[in-house]
């Protein structure tokens, strides 16, 4: 396997780990000093661990689906979808039950077989819109569709 194929494989493994929610593998996949360039995020494996666990706590079915994966040299780019249901509080947004599904791009630099740095651009406008969509209206539709006739 070329370096670039091995790098893509470790990124795929990271996505599968997140989707399954099994954070025990995190230290095998992410470097100790993981440099996360996501706006507002600080570095280190402890930060990314609590970030991922926090996302799963708010959206238990949160899923990252890889649509394209591009590897060159020590870099891997991923175009992915982020989808899930907000069943618990997220920041100061109370549980809405709303479903989100939006596009994002991730970039990773891989060193010594682990994810060493990360950059991300996500469609936060869509995320915001879906999360703040009126839960009452959603609930009313689901109430109607579940009526016994």
């Amino acid at each position: 396997m070329s370096d670039s194929e091995a790098n893509k494989a470790i990124v795929r493994r990271y996505f599968e780990m997140f989707n399954s929610g099994d954070m025990n593998q995190l230290a095998d996949i992410v470097s100790e000093d993981y440099g996360d360039k996501l706006e507002g995020q600080s570095s280190g494996i402890a930060v990314i661990r609590s970030y991922l666990e926090g996302l799963k706590a708010s959206f238990p079915d949160f899923t990252w689906t890889i649509e394209q994966i591009i590897g060159e040299g020590d870099r891997v780019a991923v175009m992915n979808r982020v989808s899930g249901t907000q069943l618990n509080d997220f920041g100061d947004i109370k549980a809405t039950g709303n479903r989100v599904d939006f596009a994002a791009f991730q970039f990773y630099r891989i060193a010594d077989g682990k994810l060493a740095e990360h950059w991300e651009i996500a469609d936060f406008a869509k995320f915001q819109e879906q999360l703040t969509a009126k839960p009452a209206a959603t609930a009313f539709k689901s109430f109607q569709s579940n009526l016994k006739t």
């Binding site: 670039s4 649509e67 394209q68 994966i69 591009i70 590897g71 060159e72 040299g73 870099r75 891997v76 780019a77 175009m79 596009a103 994002a104 791009f105 970039f107 950059w119 651009i121 996500a122 469609d123 936060f124 406008a125 915001q128 703040t132």
Partner: protein, 146 residues
């Protein structure tokens, strides 16, 4: 179909679109660079997913931000797929998405992937941080203002 474009050449084609077409308004070059059957997998709302839709969007951006240009942070290529991470900059001097000119300097990050076939851009997928752009233009709906 064989693809005659090598990785480095494919990156250069994508870079030329960013720098010459988007950044300088060279629309003759747009005609050269975009395949007739170009498909945009992530068109902006209200635009068609073909080369006509892409051309219109570029015109709209250049009219709204006459000094529109990108700083490319890096590119990577895998097969015929090129990804580019860049930050767009511009001064808001014309109407944009219904927002009257504010004169503000804006910047927003964008990543895209383009498939290059036989020297032309054939497919596009992109994600732009439009949330940040709208925030800078003071155009977020009141309900989600922070």
């Amino acid at each position: 179909m064989t693809n005659t474009t090598t990785g480095e050449a494919a990156k250069a084609i994508v870079r030329r679109n960013t720098e010459e077409v988007q950044g300088k308004g060279d629309f003759a070059m747009f005609e050269e660079l975009f395949a007739q059957d170009f498909v945009d997998h992530t068109p902006q709302p209200g635009r068609t997913a073909d080369r006509q839709g892409a051309r219109q969007l570029y015109h709209v951006l250049r009219a709204a931000f006459p000094d529109f240009h990108a700083v490319i942070h890096w590119q990577a290529v895998d097969g015929d797929l090129v990804t580019t991470f860049k930050t767009y900059h511009g001064t808001h001097k014309g109407e944009f998405f219904g927002i009257a000119p504010t004169g503000r300097s804006i910047q927003f990050d964008t990543v895209d992937a383009m498939r290059v076939r036989n020297g032309q851009i054939a497919e596009h997928w992109g994600v732009a941080n439009l949330f940040s752009l709208m925030e800078q233009l003071g155009a977020l709906p009141a309900s989600i203002k922070t």
